[in-house]
Amino acid sequence: MYKYFISLCFVFVFVNGYSQINTSKEETKEKKDTITYKTGYGLRLGIDISKPALSIVDKSYSGLELVGDYRISKKWYVAAEIGHEDETTFEDFLSSSAKGNYIKIGANYNAYENWLDMNNEIFVGMRYGFAIFDHTLNSYQPNVSSGTENLPPYFPSTPIKTPMSDDGLTAHWTELQLGIKAETFKNLFIGFSFSYKIMLSVDDQKDFKTLYTPGFNRVFESNTGFGFNYTISYLIPFVNK
């Protein structure tokens, strides 16, 4: 038993050791690091895979978005997205569809300090968005509810199933993006970003309102919108610097 106590005593014994003491008196001259780490500059093209994925899950949605950016300086990228979306909105008293194309143009600022030759991004982006689309009121039922819960209307209304459509509608908006991009393989990037959009102007369908705009997503009452994308993109390096 005692030997364990004795052994335990050794656990609390500390030894300070030194090695590699600079014994020479002469000062080492500090050398300047001459190695510069180069990263690729070029055109990066990709696809938003969240939209095709959502198309599989949600039968009332289909969409495709291509993304691209071009690096113009260490921190700045010119960036754009183009896409096509077709979405049907179902509400209690109506159903509507929006279908069309959009383009977003702007710039990303990379706020991330890369180590060595890494080429990752945590970026803030601004976009101007423009969409041209068709909006269809598929069906609706005038809301004549009695105002009392569980009491059916005294004079029920009939659903109107004749679709009404307006084409060539346009929308303009601005967008703020926050996202990350990581180089997972050489020149192959995976990224995701969130966006907050503010509608500048949008055409409404006659006697109705635009509830969904391609590229903008759902138009909220306050004329704002949110977006998300998950991209896989490939960098075509033109030059390393």
Partner: protein, 158 residues
Amino acid sequence: MKKYIALFILIVGLTACEKDDFCTQNPVTPNLVLRFYDMDNTNDLKNVERLSIIAEGKTDSLFTNRTTDSIAIPLNSLSQKTVYTLKMNDVDGNIANNQTATLTIEYNPEEDFVSRSCGFRIIYENVTLSNTGWINSLSTTEVPLIDNQASAHVQVFH
């Protein structure tokens, strides 16, 4: 692995959305609001005793045997005319003492978009009213537009 987790979160996030807006307007389509006044003293409200009301062509009453000085009645949005029969009894519950009146309302129903959650409502333009029976007179027989029910549209004197 990380990719699959991200994709999973994405799909859950995009499909598990609950409805986040509800129609809070109540009701959306306005009713015709009537207030009942004393025909001899037109500034005083006067209750209608044991009032029952039914629309022409309907088998069920809107309400029965109610004593009130104000009613909100829906108009038929599928027609340009709604005829109500108003039955009241200011003596007792005996059928023999029932008095009836008819109120004929003609109008042009128009659809009006309200909002995403409330949908479309009906507003009534060029409303004209006429009456028979125990109703002595109406304050007005023409209402240009019924698009809200914040206050009474017509005063009914009896």
